[in-house]
Symmetry: C2
């Protein structure tokens, strides 16, 4: 294993100088910086995290806590995980995945949390930095701008000639669900259109049953709170003989995986997981550096499929 000392010898300097070139290059003369960089390349040196960790009293390891029921884990977590790991690696950190509510501080510098419910937030006041995926008032969080997302969806349907736009929401009292519904309602108000909103559990069958019961007239648009609900709405519409995308238009929310499985493919409000992951890591690193940070909202993207014009 190539160590600082090896580099120091071939560059004919002390190992402290090498360390400084890596961490505080502004304190080293340009000449020597070049010699050292040369030696680093020659020997293929890479910093040893254990050594840094010991010297800096850090662990260079972040816990990602997944609080959703493991049976319910949405596929987009695999994506989020990969994006987070990439972002953290750029800072020399490792990601450790967990799925319990212990928040064990062992060998960890900070926490990233996903799927937290209201009942978890007391446990989230920890002596180390925490960044949450999903809005949590009073805590540092990153989230898609849910209201803007459904507003975009609603407006898109209105502008594409659907005279009647309804909303399939979630029957849970969580901020993201409320915000998604708000986006729909405000847009309808803005256009002076009548609001028709329902709240369901997040499963396909619930949506299928409801839409079948309602039997929407041709020209109806449906904005849903999740791609899963949209899938159910699509199925029901097909059974009712409504044809996409002229007689009926449906827009989902999430856009990670499910929307590609459906036929027709689903138009959806896509959460930009790469941006979300980078933002979460940015806020975490800032906190680790002692800076004060504020929560951020990320604007989602409308991805057009065949369930709308």
């Amino acid at each position: 294993m190539v160590s600082l000392n090896d580099v120091a010898k071939t560059a004919h300097v002390s190992k402290m100088t090498v360390s400084r070139v890596l961490n505080h290059p502004e304190l080293v003369s340009l000449e020597i910086q070049e010699d050292v960089q040369q030696a680093i390349l020659e020997l293929g040196y890479v910093q040893n995290r254990a050594g840094r960790a010991l010297a800096n009293k850090r662990h260079y390891n972040i816990a990602f806590v997944l609080l959703d029921d493991i049976a319910e884990i949405e596929p987009y977590y695999a994506h989020l995980l990969i994006h987070l790991t990439d972002a953290l690696r750029h800072h020399g950190y490792t990601l450790e995945v967990r799925h319990d509510r212990e928040f064990d501080l062992t060998n960890v510098d900070a926490f990233l949390v996903s799927g937290a419910r209201r009942s978890d937030i007391e446990a989230l006041h920890l002596p180390v930095p925490v960044v949450i995926y999903g809005m949590e008032p009073g805590l540092i969080s990153v989230d898609s701008d849910n209201a803007v997302g459904t507003a975009m969806a609603t407006e898109y349907l209105i502008n594409h000639g659907f005279e009647h736009v309804m909303y399939l929401g979630l029957a849970i009292n969580e901020p993201f669900a409320l915000n998604r519904e708000t986006g729909y309602r405000q847009t309808m108000l803005k256009y002076g259109l009548p609001i028709e909103a329902y709240e369901l559990p997040n499963n396909e069958c619930a949506a299928t049953e409801l839409i079948t019961l309602i039997n929407p007239a041709p020209g109806t648009g449906i904005v849903t709170a999740t791609d899963r609900l949209a899938l159910g709405a699509i199925r029901a519409s097909q059974a009712l003989g409504l044809s996409f995308p002229n007689e009926i238009g449906i827009i989902g929310f999430d856009g990670i995986y499910i929307h590609k499985l459906s036929s027709p493919t689903l138009t959806t409000i896509q959460q930009p997981l790469g941006v979300i992951a980078n933002t979460m890591v940015k806020l975490l690193m800032a906190q680790l550096n002692g800076e004060t940070v504020a929560s951020e909202l990320i604007t989602p993207t409308l991805v057009i499929g065949n369930s709308t014009p």
Copy 2:
């Protein structure tokens, strides 16, 4: 931070004794062991991984390399990841997720690899232990017993009165795909039934088109190589007016997520990811301890849904 030294002081021994209690308790008298354990509990001591890593010239970090295209990532990777992380943590190891073909050895003791294709295997002869998810002859791997899985599925359909059982396989030349087809073929031969096998790309639409074209007679059973193909077969069967589970029966393969989304829910051969993860970690740890190990096959489980009797 509580260190070995702190424990040593409150237990009135040297820190080496504490270290021994943790790593080689058989070398310490019972009396002192108890004192030390007491002190550990009192102070809430936990080993510092960086210290261990430095002393042991290890990193206590394993790279998980995900070689599938990120856009194609199947939801079960999220589950596999969590199971792997759990298993590794019991050994004091961390999991680092990667998705490039670099196999960068930096700060890593070994590799776990998933989604490797034939073309990757040269790159997999590394100077550190490697365990692969998915059978790779000549390398250490853990895989579901694919042939047994499709054999179970085929036999189940035969035994539930389906007179004609066909197979929807994958048109790729990878061992897992070949083995799944073999399980079907051998079972059909065993029962003296005629073989009818097709090979498709792994997407729902391909399966839908094929089944629509074939227009299977009532009494047909379909074994598929993946849940995605099964989803397509379900959709086509419904369009053809065949009713589940009497006129037609369909069994998928994977059983992580998709099978719950379909209606009817899908009977599937479920890969036991927890067992697979534990086995992978077991083989990895054995290799890190210098032992010689052999690949293992894990028997999958038949999970009954509503797409079969």
